[in-house]
């Protein structure tokens, strides 16, 4: 199940011809950003089987420096602490709002505001909320990469 991805604020598409240019990029940009964000959400939380040992695919869409940082903060950015104590998760909400920086209508950066809510099953029954922002840039290959994040996680 992919996240619901919606467009938030856009900087750079108010006037013509930028508006027209951005319209061409809009759908593809949201799809690609959604794909990068979902790689993290699926690989780190809800798209993998439990119990498990690692989350090796969670940070595939991160830049190399961001991936190194994320691995150091795996307790925050994945289900690391629960990985051996649960046997599954049930997604309640996975929503992504994307603010785009698009000078002259061409997307050059984005902030993905993420809200993920899921319940764990197994030895530990918990409602986990992951929310925050991921910062993304387009790559030369046409994909988007996460170069930074500001994420919080809560559970009860």
């Amino acid at each position: 199940m992919a996240s619901t991805v919606v467009l938030g604020r856009v900087a750079g598409n108010v006037h013509q011809p930028n508006k027209r240019i951005f319209k061409k990029h809009r759908k593809r940009t949201l799809t690609k950003i959604g794909r990068a964000v979902d790689t993290w959400i699926d690989g780190g939380f809800v798209g993998v089987g439990y119990p498990r040992k690692t989350f090796h695919s969670a940070f595939k869409a991160f830049t190399t420096p961001a991936r190194h940082d994320a691995k150091r903060q795996r307790a925050l950015l994945s289900n690391w602490a629960l990985r051996k104590k649960i046997d599954g998760v049930k997604v309640r909400k996975r929503h992504v709002t994307v603010d785009v920086f698009a000078p002259h209508g061409r997307p050059a950066g984005a902030t993905a505001r993420v809200r993920l809510v899921f319940r764990t099953t197994g030895h530990i029954h918990r409602r986990v909320v992951v929310r925050g922002r991921l910062f993304l840039n387009p790559t030369d290959h046409g994909t988007w990469q996460i170069f930074g994040y500001d994420v919080a996680r809560g559970a009860k």
């Binding site: 856009v10 900087a11 006037h15 420096p65 190194h68 000078p103 050059a108 505001r113 840039n137």
Partner: protein, 304 residues
Amino acid sequence: MKRRILRVAKLATLGVILAVVTLTLPDSAPKSTEFALVKVHQAEAANINKNVISILAVGSDARPGENFTHTRGDALQLVTINTRTHAASIIGVPRDSWVDIPGHGHDKINASLYYGGPELMGRSVGNLIGVQPTYVFVTRFQFFSAMVRRIGGIDIRNPYAFSDDPLKRVGFKAGRIHLDGYDAMAFSRIRHTLPRGDFDRSAHQEIVLKGIQAKVRAHADKPGFIEHGVLDAMSHMYTNLPPTELFRLAQVMAQVDPSKVRSCVVQGGIGTSSGGASIVLPYVAAARDMGNQIRKDGTLSHCG
């Protein structure tokens, strides 16, 4: 009656023209250039921690009509940021520091901007501290005011009360105060009435920079704040950076934790040049010590 109809028609035509111009004007079309942000190519980048980026912030004293990237640099602050820990440091350099400017001999360090623009300014400060900046950011004071005004002013803690007749007669109270655009400029420029002149002024500039960063950080999670901020900056900026890098840089700066920012000012003795000008003879060993600290992880544990 005919004349009235004509007047209404003229107004309507003008309205339509204005509307068309407004609608067709690109969002980030260049307006007046208020800032310059230049990436400086550096040979010694490998010696610096990969998670550390450094930006030299320069306040130019250019008068209207002068090229602000080729006048004297009045405020000189080297900002280093650790992108992993979100810690930062600011090293202030007194503008009258007497140094060897590459290719121009000994002169006040702020003349580097006049001789060779942002690149040479960066090299001179880099040679003094021992760490070359990755980026050089230049603005003039009046635009600095506008920049602070755009973010709604800043809140700072002023260590002691001071005033200055031409710039701020009523002065600044000690303690927690709010600075609007003009006040931030005055707070950063006043020098004559400060106990330690240029050194204290440099420390004040660091306080203002911290205030700006804290304000940006506090608003960074507002939807579209960074995106619109960068676009607005771009429309007033000369830069050799691609938009993707500008966006990344803005996010990195906005992520700095204000509680992890430490600042120092390069100290020195007071002297006189052969031409009779008052100069600062910087304590180079102490400046290099600061450079060695920031080279490791971008932070300062002490002021050299």
